[in-house]
């Protein structure tokens, strides 16, 4: 803990308390209802017939055998459903005016463009019958060549969407001063040029997706239950794509079992459920299988990154130049093309870099679409700069810590105008490095490393460092406009004090594991001096919380939670006016103590918040012109992003005999500004760190040259278990954000953003004496072992 921390961990039940979660009891007892848990009488089960080919023309579809399966009611093809759609599936982020994108229909019509593309839908009485029906549908395919490799895709050897004439969808660039970049490279004492591959990842939220659409037979109303992060956005998109008036649609995200960006989307199955519920007049439902999830839910990452650093003789970076090829997959999903842009501003990392150049080309391939996956663009950027700076350290001949110290943005430069065009709100990077090194006993580990190297030990010790800053709290609406994003980035909140004293919070955020009910209660408790147990938080249902922008991009707290706090401020302002009126004093004479507004110096003259709420409810004696009820409503549009930061250090042991990499120690020192609930912050970090380490060590969606996903099950897509990961040691600093009145920053993605380069830097550090400077991710034993063997052969 650092000096800036004083006062944070006070033992209250408001802001800063390690309050245990309100959400837990229902989740621990099985009472929580995920979509598949809902009992929906009369619902028909849908099963999706999916293309087994990456690229194929769809010929005849013979449903006769499927329709003969007991319990199967209907089979619909893409042609059958073509008139169900008022518009193609939405992409909300056409990043350039001339971006090319094909129409994307929920059920493919002429051609399947990836393994998993839906070609027909079976509707049956039970989930078992739906599966049987899917197996019995016979589809004639005329296979075409797959497009898997990104450079091959960019060459247009095979074009995925003939109508577009090319696989290159867009090129987006950010080059504020091209001459400055050219000059920096011309004048550089050191230049490093690196290429990194961001493998595709499968998000693997533990709950697969699911949807149920329940029509009101007479009124035409439709209730859609979906395992989604975005009920509010989904509602708008159902209106747009299915032609249902918005007044007729209610979307509910019940308990949602994790998402990590993979449920930040509008999916074909959701629209198909709506279309068929309307067509058939009965409820329809679908639950994704796990292997189905691997191809049917978006994947993350998928980039080829070329990064160049120019530096002076001391290793002070003078310019960064980045070129990306980004894999869109077969279609644009909701925000597919924008994902690389979320990293576009961050390839300079935490460093003071005078000149900056970024360019990204998005290409279509015949694979599952990519889209947001925890961190979304920012892990890729952080990986590239935090690996490249290690290469620069080697070039300059200084160690990993020193190269960073020479380049960090100095703490007295905040708010810092980065050459990429962003203004970093607040930061103080070096103390996080110092503390993280201390936590792993860096000097001791280095001594041990030297000892092992001198002894010729085959278990190589490696220490990896990475410092990150991320932009989150999506997002200032005007900035989104400049990036050609279709919507705004605000969030809505309402706080009401009910006549019984219960404080009701209605939030537009949509939690799926983050603990918003607990945290929003703490914010309100802090503001109004009430007990968090007297606060109820309503969310995730468009009939209860009609206005919202949902949860993603580490936005819930710095946008939505801030809105809650501001709405509570408005409640207090109004309460103060009512109390002043009834106690016949000036508003300034009132102070909030223990949930009461008291007249200063006369504590017997006081009104409780509940008492004031009752007065506002009865409305018998309010100030002239005041509206009844004690409530405050806020829509907060943040003036800037927030910029959490920190330094992580990993210690690994690489076994030369097996290529196995063991995570021996991991320390993280993060700064997300003011913490509402440190217990929840730590939980977000633990999970994020393991998810990012998994990219470094274990996970990859492996496609063969025919575009087939080779590892769609959890037996061969290696999500780590408890046995593979170490204890994680955390500490933090507190540098409040000036962007919002709570001083908070997001923490949902931070761990994932930084742990990947931290771990890979450790592996490369371990193998540095062998001359190894890079290891492709994931650093699986076979790959590490081969790299060591190749290096040894080169040495001998």
């Amino acid at each position: 803990m650092t000096a800036t921390d004083v006062g944070q961990e006070k033992a209250t039940r408001g802001m800063g308390a390690r309050l245990l979660r309100k959400e837990d009891a229902r989740l621990l007892t099985g009472e929580a209802q995920y979509v598949d848990d809902l009992h929906i009488p009369g619902a028909l089960w849908m099963g999706m017939v999916r293309s087994p080919f990456a690229h194929a023309r769809i010929g005849n579809i013979d449903a006769s055998a499927a329709l003969a399966v007991p319990g199967v009611r209907h089979v619909f093809t893409g042609a059958d459903l073509r008139d169900s759609w008022a518009a193609a599936m939405p992409c909300a982020w056409p990043v350039t005016e001339d971006m090319k994108a094909p129409d994307h229909w929920p059920v493919a019509v002429d051609k399947a463009c990836y393994v998993g593309d839906i070609v027909a839908v079976v509707v049956a009485d039970s989930r078992y019958a739906a599966v049987d029906g899917v197996d019995a549908v016979e589809v004639d395919y005329d296979p075409l060549e797959a497009v898997v490799d990104l450079e091959d895709a960019a060459s247009d050897r095979v074009v995925v969407h003939e109508g577009l004439g090319t696989n290159r969808s867009y090129t987006w660039s950010l080059v504020p001063d091209p001459d400055a970049v050219d000059r920096a490279f011309a004048d550089a004492a050191h230049v490093v040029r690196e290429r990194y591959l961001q493998q595709r990842l499968i998000p693997v939220a533990m709950e697969p997706r699911g949807v149920a659409a329940v029509p009101g037979v007479y009124g035409g109303d439709l209730t859609v239950y979906s395992a989604t992060q975005i009920p509010h956005i989904l509602k708008v998109m159902i209106t747009a794509t299915c032609g249902v008036p918005e007044s007729k649609v209610r979307v509910i995200a019940p308990s949602v079992g994790g998402a990590f960006g993979s449920k930040l989307n509008v999916y074909a199955e959701e629209l198909i459920a709506v279309a068929l519920a309307r067509r058939l007049g009965v409820p329809t439902r679908w639950t994704e299988g796990r292997s189905e999830n691997a191809v049917a839910t978006i994947q993350g990452r998928g980039q080829v990154q070329d990064i160049e650093l120019a530096a002076d003789a001391e290793g002070k970076i003078t310019a960064v130049r980045v070129k990306l090829l980004a894999d869109m997959g077969a279609y644009m999903q909701l925000v597919t093309p924008g994902i690389p842009l979320l990293g576009a501003f961050l390839y300079g990392g935490v460093y003071d870099i005078p000149a900056y150049s970024f360019e990204c080309t998005g290409v279509f391939t015949t694979k599952t679409p990519t889209d947001a996956y925890r961190g979304a663009g920012r892990p890729e950027a952080t990986y590239a700069i935090e690996r490249a700076i290690e290469a620069l350290a080697g070039e300059v001949g200084v160690d990993s810590a020193e190269i960073r110290r020479r380049n960090y943005i100095p703490s007295d430069r905040f708010p810092y105008d980065a050459s990429s065009g962003l203004t970093f709100d607040s930061g103080n990077y070096e103390p996080t490095l110092d503390r993280a090194l201390e936590l792993v006993d860096h000097d001791g580990r280095r001594a041990e490393q030297r000892r092992r190297r001198e002894a010729g030990d085959t278990k190589h010790l490696g220490i990896g460092i990475a410092t990150y800053v991320e932009m989150c709290g999506l997002a200032p609406s005007r900035v989104l406009a400049s990036l050609n994003y279709a919507a705004g980035g605000w969030e809505a909140a309402t706080v009401r004090v009910l006549p019984t004293g219960t404080v009701q919070v209605v939030s537009g955020t949509t939690p799926h594991g983050q603990g918003h009910e607990t945290c929003w209660s703490q914010i309100v408790a802090e503001k109004l001096g009430v007990d968090p147990d007297s606060v109820e938080v309503l969310h995730s249902d468009t009939a209860i919380s009609p206005v919202g922008m949902d949860s993603y991009g580490s936005r819930s707290l710095p946008v939505g939670g801030v809105a809650v706090g501001m709405a509570a401020d408005r409640v207090l302002d109004k309460a103060r006016k009512i109390a002043a009126h009834q106690l016949e004093c000036a508003e300034d004479d009132l102070e909030l103590v223990d949930g009461e507004l008291r007249v200063k110096g006369t504590p017997t003259k006081a009104m409780t918040l509940q008492g004031i709420a009752f007065e506002a409810f009865s409305a018998h004696d309010l100030p002239d012109g005041m509206e009844p009820n004690l409530a405050g409503e806020v829509v907060f549009d943040p003036p800037n992003f927030v910029f959490p930061f920190g330094t992580h250090v990993a210690v690994v042991e690489v076994d030369e005999e097996t290529g196995g990499v063991e995570l021996v120690d991991y320390a993280a020192v993060d700064d997300c500004g003011v913490q509402v609930n440190p217990m929840i912050v730590e939980g977000q970090l633990h999970g994020g760190i393991v998810q990012g380490a998994a990219q470094a060590l274990w996970e990859e969606a492996v496609y063969d040259e025919d575009g087939l996903l080779r590892n769609p099950t959890l037996t061969d897509y290696c999500v780590p278990s408890a046995a593979e990961v170490p204890n994680i040691r955390l500490d933090h600093t507190v540098t409040p954000s000036p962007t919002n009145p709570l001083g908070v920053k997001g923490i949902g993605e931070a761990g994932t953003i930084v742990s990947t380069p931290t771990v890979v830097n450790a592996i490369v550090d371990a193998l540095a004496p062998l001359g190894i400077t890079d290891i492709a991710m994931p650093a699986a034993p076979e790959r590490v072992w081969a790299a060591i063997r190749e290096a040894r052969e080169g040495q001998s």
Partner: protein, 178 residues
């Protein structure tokens, strides 16, 4: 085929297809939806229940195989606890009523061993089974013992702490996280 089994101490009968999985019997036929399905290869453990006191993955057991056996799901776990853990739930928790929890559930609550909660019922059942076999495990034994249960939210850190806490093995110095 007709089967009869004990579920959470109650005798239940059902007429099932031979291929019906125990997890679907529990969820779809008996309405016990606390047991979740997270995969299709017996990898994730979200569906873990106790059969005759030992943990099994109910997606890999046919309903027919459970005929004549005793099954405990997350909904029936608290009733198994020797003494109901009403321990401090009121002051420790938020407004969720945690008063009827098994000590393992209580430990997960107190140690923040869950986030989205989807893996949690299976994880808790696996942990109960683990402590039944090894009442005082080391941290490494807990990690190995939970290898068959995947969680994507917690990084396992606080799950491991939860199980150690339930076993009374959490070092004093670690009872409040650093």
């Amino acid at each position: 085929m007709k089967i009869t089994l004990s579920v959470n101490g109650e005798e239940r009968s059902a007429d099932v297809e031979p291929r019906r999985l125990l997890v679907h019997l529990l969820r779809d036929d008996l309405g016990l939806t606390g047991t979740n399905v997270g995969c299709d290869t017996s990898s994730c453990g979200a569906c873990t229940v106790l059969m005759d006191g030992e943990s099994v993955k109910s997606c890999t057991v046919l309903a027919a195989q459970a005929d004549g056996h005793e099954v405990t799901t997350i909904e029936g776990l608290a009733a198994l606890a020797p003494a109901r853990a009403a321990v401090g739930a009121g002051e420790a928790s938020g407004d969720g009523d945690a008063s009827a929890l098994h000590p393992m559930q209580q430990a997960f609550h107190e140690q923040h061993g869950l986030q989205c909660g989807f893996c949690t019922p299976g994880m808790v059942m696996a942990a109960v089974s683990l402590l039944a076999e090894n009442p005082h495990p080391t941290e490494a034994e807990v990690r190995l013992g939970l290898e068959g249960n995947l969680c994507r939210c917690t990084g396992y850190h606080n799950i491991v702490r939860s199980v150690l806490a339930a076993a009374g093995e959490l070092p004093k110095s670690e009872e409040v996280p650093a």
